[in-house]
């Protein structure tokens, strides 16, 4: 079966971001970018399913600037078969991403779409659920285990009180949680081979849908900074401070 894996190019998770002086957004010039960590987990899961003989083809998709070709090439080097970049220089919000992915799903007919549970830039946690809704497919969000058997996907989900297992009729949408797997590293020979794999670039205008933002960013600010604290010498001082200064115990 065919799997579609959407990948977002985001500011690297280790970067300490800075808010722009004019409060219009965060500073993104000269900042390191990489694939969203949850999406790397999604690619890894697809590759493992292929290695297990369950998946025959992995198509990776990214929606965004030309630079997103990098994260697609990396996914190809990790084992994806081909890539599609839906190119745009404008901000595309999760609802529009879901609509574009829906059209791609109708064209590609995957049996499974694996997405990250959230992107670490906008922290929305919406796209997978929205895609499942638009396709009228079942969803398995926050997956920490995925088993494909008997034409269904059995998904172990991380929920607030523990774990839950659900079974989904295929085709289905699954979103990854951190504990689904540990993504592998790129190897140099595979990076070289990936350069020969197909990467199709399609302008967002070739999809006949409205991708205008529905949410307007009014202002972006630094969070409130905490007052500098103090170092205490011992347990007695700490307890004294907590009881009489902070009054929390």
């Amino acid at each position: 079966m065919k799997v579609l894996v959407p990948i977002k190019r985001v500011v690297d998770y280790n970067v300490k971001i800075r808010v722009k002086a004019d409060h219009s957004g965060v500073e993104t010039a000269n900042v390191k970018y990489s694939a969203n960590p949850f999406d790397e987990i999604a690619v890894e899961e697809a590759v493992r399913l292929k290695e297990a003989g369950i998946v025959s083809e992995i198509v990776v998709v990214s929606i965004g600037a030309a630079a997103a070709q990098d994260v697609l090439r990396n996914a190809l080097a990790l084992g994806a078969d081909r890539a599609i970049l839906v190119q745009t220089d404008h901000e595309i919000q999760p609802l529009a991403v879901a609509k574009l992915l829906k059209l791609l799903c109708l064209q590609e007919s995957p049996q499974l779409v694996i997405l990250g549970k959230q992107a670490i830039d906008d922290d929305s946690n919406q796209t997978g659920q929205a895609l499942a809704a638009l396709l009228d497919w079942p969803q398995g969000t926050f997956a920490s285990k995925l088993v494909i058997k008997d034409g269904r996907a059995e998904v172990t989900r991380e929920i607030d009180g523990g774990l839950e297992i659900i079974s989904l009729a295929l085709p289905a949408v699954v979103t990854t949680d951190l504990r689904l797997n540990e993504p592998r590293y790129l190897s140099l020979p595979n990076i070289m081979k990936a350069k020969k794999k197909p990467l199709e670039i399609r302008p967002v205008a070739s999809f006949d849908i409205n991708v205008e933002p529905r949410l307007i960013t009014v202002r972006v600010e630094e969070p409130m900074q905490r007052q500098a604290g103090i170092k205490v010498a011992d347990v007695a001082t700490l307890l004294n401070k907590l009881k009489h200064e902070a009054k929390v115990i």
């Binding site: 969803q139 607030d160 307007i216 604290g229």
Partner: protein, 311 residues
Amino acid sequence: MTSLVIADHDNATLGSATARALTAALALGSDVYVLVAGFNAKPAAEAAAKLEGVKKVLFADDASLDHQRAEPVAALVIALAKDYDAILAPATSSGKNILPRVAALLDVMQLSDITKVVSPDTFERPIYAGNAIETVQSLDAKKVITVRGAAFTAAQEGTASAPIETIAPVAGVFGSTFVGETLSKSERPELTSARIVVSGGRALGSAEKFNEVLLPLADKLHAAVGASRAAVDAGYAPNDFQVGQTGKIVAPELYIAIGLSGAIQHLAGMKDSKVIVAINKDEEAPIIQIADYALVGDLFKIIPELEKALG
């Protein structure tokens, strides 16, 4: 103007997350209805009816709604949606699962994890693991919103009970079935609503040490227990203990961080705590930089001492 809050519950009890989402809904300035969708969920519906500010409880009780799978609950909400200007849910694992599905079916862009209601169409929400706060204005006619519990106080029980109206579920084939669950059993307060949280990191070294060192201290303080991702990945604590960008977001009065460095992703889940205490042997650890009180030293010596001093 009416808003609908989708309750987070386990049929028998209503989580405090719902009471917090209710506070956000009331801030929109409209009447608030609460939807309790579940199976044998009468107690949860009655608890919702008691909350101050609730105008009416809509109660859908059916086997198809047990475990609140996204597909049937979203279908039910869509069937009700035309009567509401705003649909809200707490940003719990259940709310985050269901609500974006509702939003997409309504052709609306969801506002995720809001921390402040500025006006009925403008909200604040954290982005980049809480390192920036974005004020966003929604252009959609209907607002679909998940609410960060830690940012809102919980609505309290009022003197009167709101009426409970029983509604029918939506019939259909939903493509998903519940197979089973493993829930962590705990006598301690729930992590996201606890007044005090004691949290452990990788420096605890093992699951045995984690339990041996942290749990007695937590019990003395009537605190909930949290963990860093490193501690969870290493198997010291179950995943639902994880505090951070991808785990739970907490803002207790007192957060005691023990043997955890304070990575950006962890800070995202706890830096709005009122008082932060860090106990760490590394003076350079990021957690020391944001702690109100830092005690530098060996946690295996400090924690038993602290526990003893608490009496």
